[in-house]
């Protein structure tokens, strides 16, 4: 089955992966995205040491956008099922922030779809990350890519 969820509880990666598996599949590719301690500031080149992270979502819209990604992935790749779970609230360093599991009859499509899904999630799903440092905090703003999300005011 497909599923998209937001949770403030720790994510059990194995159970996300298993829930995505149907009988006709030969491989599940699972991305485990987690909170990183050291982040390089793209503007200044300085490395920031993060103490913990806070994720916030526009929850109803985030779930809709995640659902759209699953629909599009299933049209564009030869895959059977997708599960996406994103964590919200406070996360300690090393805790899982997002899990994407893609089950497919053959692994190649599952790898490609999983890569596409995380790239699009980071671009379109309304979730924001705040990095908290020893001496301050900052909301991280996504990169503006060559293909900006719709709705960008001129």
């Amino acid at each position: 089955m497909d599923f998209t969820e937001l949770t403030t509880e720790p994510i059990d990666i194995t159970s996300v992966a298993r829930r995505a598996v149907p009988p006709e599949c030969g491989a599940t590719v699972t991305l485990d995205g987690y909170a990183r301690r050291f982040t390089k500031d793209k503007a200044t080149g300085e490395t920031n040491e993060t103490e913990y992270l806070v994720y916030e979502a526009y929850e109803p819209m985030a779930l809709k956008e995640m659902g759209k990604l699953v629909e599009r992935a299933k049209k564009e790749f030869e895959i059977s099922n997708v599960g996406i779970v994103h964590r919200l609230g406070r996360l300690e360093i090393g805790e899982t922030s997002v899990v994407i599991s893609v089950a497919a009859p053959h692994r190649r499509a599952a790898f490609a779809a999983c890569e596409w899904l995380i790239k699009e999630l980071k671009r379109t799903v309304p979730i924001w990350k705040k990095e908290v440092y020893a001496n301050g905090e900052a909301w991280i703003e996504g990169e503006v890519t060559e293909e900006p999300p719709p709705g960008q005011p001129a």
Partner: protein, 79 residues
């Protein structure tokens, strides 16, 4: 007409609120509304802002309707 404004993350911090109700004129576009909000909260101007109307990404020229939920936020950073 009355619209509901929603802010998240950096925009909530800049505005000092997560939810506001605002009376606006008929035929106001999303872009015009954002310009009004930036006038009231100039620190928003340093951000690249995105708009969603009723939980869908919207362009700046979209005309708003009574009761719309208009979310104003920075480029997303989940994952």
């Amino acid at each position: 007409m009355l619209i509901r404004l929603l802010f998240f993350g950096a925009t909530a911090d800049a505005v000092g609120s997560r939810k506001l109700e605002l009376e606006i004129d008929e035929n106001t576009s999303a872009g015009t509304l954002i310009a009004q909000i930036i006038q009231q909260h100039p620190s928003l101007a340093t951000h690249k802002l995105l708009i969603a109307v009723n939980e869908q990404y919207a362009d700046a020229d979209m005309i708003l309707n009574d009761g719309d939920r208009v979310a104003v936020f920075t480029a997303v950073s989940g994952g």
